[in-house]
Every structure is written in C-alpha cells, then in structure tokens.
C-alpha cells in the first residue's frame, strides 16, 4: 500500500511542478516586459506623438491605429463568421460543398500570417486600390480572424441541444425563427469566447498589416479608413529594427509592448463582461 501512496505522491507533485514551470514562464514574461517597459508609461507617452526620430515622445498614434484596426476587423469578421457558421450547421447542402468549405476554412486557419500580409497587399492594396490604409488592414485582419470565428461559432451552435431545435420546430416555427430565437441566443456566450481569443490574436498581429496598413511614422490621427496608420506591434518592430538610436529606442519598444498588452486585456475584458452579462441573463 505504501508503494501506491508513494506513486500518488510523486504523480501529484510532478503535476505541481509542471504547473509551477508554466506559471514561472508567465511571471518571467510579465516581469521582463514590465521591468523594461513599465517606467516608460506616463501620460505623455500615451498622449503624444513620437519626436526626434522616435527617440522621444509617445505612441499615441499607434494606440489609436491598433484600436481601430482591432475593432473594425472584428466588426467585419464576426457577422461574416457567424453567418457562415449558421449556413454550415443549419442550411448547408449538398454535403460535398460543405466539405470543400470546411477544408478551405481549416486551411485558411493554418496559413502563416505573413502570407495574409502578401495576400492583403495583392488584393486589397493593389487590386482594389485601397492603398496602404486602415481599410486594407481591416480586411486583411478580418480574413485572418474569420476561420477562428467560424470554427468557434460552429462549435457553439453545434453544442446547442438538439432538443431546443426540435421543440421550436414542433411549435410551428420556421428554421429562421428557430435560429434567431433559440439557437443563436443559446450559442452566443461561446461565440463570444471565440471572438475574445481572436481579438487578442488580431491586435497583436504584425505581419498581415506590415504591407497593408502600417506606416513607420505619422503624427496625424486618422480621419478616414483610407488613411495609413501607426500600429503598436509594427511600431515595436520598427523601433527594434530601424532607426539609428537603438539605445534610446529599445525602452520605447518595451513601453509599447506594455501598452499593447494592456490594450488587448482591455478589449478582451469588455468582451468578457458582455459575455458575463449575457450568461447571467440567460435562464439556463
């Protein structure tokens, strides 16, 4: 019996060790970013434009740029993704078409993000002549987020018990009424979970917007979707790879990283609160 107890003791503690390792990585990660970037954060840093070849001043234009790109691309990908998921789960016929669509989605989900950048450059910037702009960046990021949102929504819709659908149809509801009144409201919290994950992903993507939306430097706030913008991840990239004052640029890059993390947390936080409110309201 002692052997079994010893085995259990070892097993549990090995698991604890692994959890500790994961946790340590997270702590070290946060420490590195905040230790190097935390002291940069000031009111000026958040509200001023960069000055003197990006060695002084703030990152305000990049915050604005990332904020708009994230919101707009999710605003574009969410409805399209949910509608596609509804089609795939409720209407899709014939079976071979569904299979092709699904293969396409899964392939898209696995495409490296730099390829999305090239795709956006070719299609939105050059072919549609949207130029390097918020619009091109939004569409490119939207295409990147769509497979994630479709997969999450499809799972969410599939996890709605079949009983609900049958009950609604048996009461003389049409397919459309059943989807709008029963299936979507029930699936919404899980759809939002998928959306939250894509928000983090989209806000942090560098490569897709490198050629489609990001600019090295602008003092101006964007006035329309056809303006090019500074964005946080690409700003970090620029600070670390370009310019000639590496010593002065590096702290700003870390400061920008802190802001990016905070922004992602903020946007996800809002989505989590919305989800919480819906879950509380739902009579499950």
């Amino acid at each position: 019996m002692n052997i079994r107890k010893i085995k259990a003791f070892i097993g549990v503690n090995v698991l604890r060790l692994f959890i500790a390792i994961t946790f340590i990585f997270l702590l070290v990660f946060l420490y590195v970013i905040f230790a190097k970037g935390g002291k940069m954060i000031s009111w000026e840093f958040l509200t001023q434009s960069p000055r003197r070849f990006m060695t002084e001043g703030g990152i305000y234009p990049a915050i604005v740029g990332t904020f708009w790109l994230t919101i707009l691309s999710i605003g574009f990908a969410l409805p399209l993704g949910v509608l596609t998921a509804i089609f795939l789960t409720s209407y899709a016929k014939p079976a071979w078409l569904v299979r092709i669509v699904r293969v396409a989605i899964n392939t898209l989900a696995g495409v490296p993000s730099i390829i999305y950048g090239l795709f956006g450059l070719t299609v939105f910037v050059q072919l549609f002549k949207f130029d390097v702009s918020i619009l091109s960046g939004t569409l490119t990021l939207g295409v990147l987020a769509m497979p994630m949102i479709i997969n999450a929504s499809e799972e969410a819709i599939k996890s709605v018990p079949r009983d609900f659908r049958e009950a609604s149809l048996a009461l003389g509801a049409t397919e459309r009424q059943t989807i709008l009144r029963v299936i979507l409201p029930t699936a919404l919290p899980n759809i939002l979970t998928g959306t939250i994950i894509s928000i983090g992903r989209v806000a942090g993507e560098t490569a897709p917007i490198l050629f489609t939306a990001a600019t090295f430097y602008t003092r101006l706030r964007p006035t329309s979707v056809f303006d090019e913008v500074m964005v946080l991840p690409d700003h970090i990239y620029a600070l670390m790879t370009e310019g000639s004052h590496a010593a002065k640029q590096m702290p700003i890059a870390y400061g920008t990283a802190v802001v990016l993390l905070a922004l992602v947390l903020f946007v996800s936080g809002v989505a989590i609160i919305i989800r919480y409110k819906i879950r509380k309201k739902r009579k499950w």
């Binding site: 609900f164 049958e166 009950a167 609604s168 149809l169 048996a170 009461l171 409201p185 009579k283």
Partner: protein
C-alpha cells in the same frame, strides 16, 4: 356515439436509408379520444408518431410513401405548409425540453412566432398554464427560468407550451418515462381532462398506462401495426397472438 377520424395514415411506409421502419401502416386516430401506441422498443411507434407532424423530415435520408390525412388532407403533399401542420398538431417529447428562457416566454413562444397580439398573449398563456394544471404552482414566478422547475413541472410546461398554439391534436412521445410516479399520475390525469378539447395520441412503454388513459390502443411490432382497437376490448380479448404475448409480458 359516432367516432370521427381526425387523422389517419394510408399505406404508410418509411425508410431510414435502407432500414424499412414502417410497413404499410393504416391507423385511424379518432377525434377527441386518447389513442395509445404500444409495442416493444424499436418497433417504430415513435417514428410513426413523428410522421403526424412531419418531424421525421429533420432526419436525413428519410423516405416516406403513402398518405397521412389530417381531415382528409394529405399532409405529405408537396404544397403543404409544414409550419401550419405543426401548429395544428402539437408535440411533447420524451425528455422535458423547455427553452432556456423564463416560464412565461416558454409558454408564449408559439404565440410570439405566430405574431399574436401582445394583449392576447397574456390571456392565452394563463389559460394554457391552467389547462396544463401548472398555473397555481408558477403564477408568482412566471419570469423565473423554466429550468428552476422540477422535471414533472417542466413536462407540464411543455404541454402548456404546446396547448398555447390551440392545436387540434397533441402527440405525446413517452411523456412520462423520465418522470417520477407522482408526476406521471398528474400527467395521466391531465390527458383525461384534455381529451375534451383535443385529440391525443400517446406513445408509451407502460402497458398499464395505456390501459388507464386510452380509449383506443394500437399495438406495433417490427414496423407493422399488428392490432388496433378499443383499449378495453384489446386488453381483455386480444385478437392477435403477438398482442396477447406482449400484453402478458412474454416479451417487450
């Protein structure tokens, strides 16, 4: 008293893929009577039930031949409006399946989707909850979740939800198999009350239940309708040997 046929099947055959589930079923269901469908598991009684409101349409690769006539009108004709059939022919499922909404919204669901006037909805919701013998238990908590009710209450809510559409026929698919004896007794009592307003067709595993509440009984075996008749007669003198064997518990 003359019995009018409310809904009946003519030479009804049904296949799921290659599986021949219903074989030449001819069954009448009489107006404002309780008809019980009995038979061993897998004999096709639930499938037959789901033919009366075209719920089998939801299952892919289903093939149906023959007629199901609602007042002489075949509901499987191509031009049939399925939603209107399902409004006239209500259904209650084996497992209570209220929506994740409030008690009130559950009862009002059918009315809302049919665009009934808001002021009338209150009235009809109360009437259906009363008809389902649930009103007194829920009148003070109409806006609480339907999931806060007990299983038996949930099933009566599902009956109320079906009644709110003011159907002519209610199909009950083993409505008490997931319930305790007390809740079962309440639902049986309810069936006897309701048959004054609607025609009831009930699938049951419980032979005694069929005996207690039904006026007519249909015995099905391996997809065939073996025997149909007045419950009293069939339970005392079954015509077919298989019916006799099933009723006396030889198989089932």
């Amino acid at each position: 008293m003359v019995n009018n046929v409310h809904i009946n099947t003519e030479k009804l055959n049904l296949w799921f893929g290659d599986n021949h589930v219903l074989k030449d079923v001819n069954i009448p269901v009489y107006d404002k009577k309780v008809t019980a469908l009995i038979g061993p598991s897998g004999c096709g009684k639930s499938t037959l039930l789901r033919c009366f409101n075209r719920m089998n349409d939801l299952i892919p690769e289903t093939k149906i031949t023959g007629n199901v006539n609602l007042y002489k009108q075949n509901i499987y004709e191509p031009k049939t409006d399925v939603t209107s059939v399902r409004t006239k022919v209500g259904m209650v499922f084996q497992k209570p399946n209220p929506f994740p909404k409030s008690i009130y919204k559950n009862a009002a669901y059918g009315l809302n989707i049919h665009g009934i006037n808001k002021s009338k909805i209150n009235e009809i919701v109360e009437k259906s909850l009363r008809d389902a013998c649930l009103w007194d238990e829920v009148k003070d908590r109409l806006h609480e979740s339907a999931f806060s009710l007990s299983g038996g209450q949930q099933q009566r809510l599902c009956i109320a939800r079906a009644l709110a559409n003011e159907p002519e026929i209610i199909l009950l698919d083993e409505p008490t198999s997931a319930l305790d004896p007390q809740s079962t007794a309440k639902i049986e009592e309810l069936c006897l009350d309701l048959k004054h307003q609607v025609t009831i067709l009930i699938v049951t595993h419980n032979i005694a239940q069929a005996g207690r509440i039904s006026d007519y009984t249909a015995f099905m075996y391996l997809g065939e309708l073996v025997e149909f008749g007045e419950t009293k007669k069939m339970f005392t003198v079954p015509k077919d040997k298989r019916t006799e064997a099933y009723l006396s518990g030889v198989f089932g």
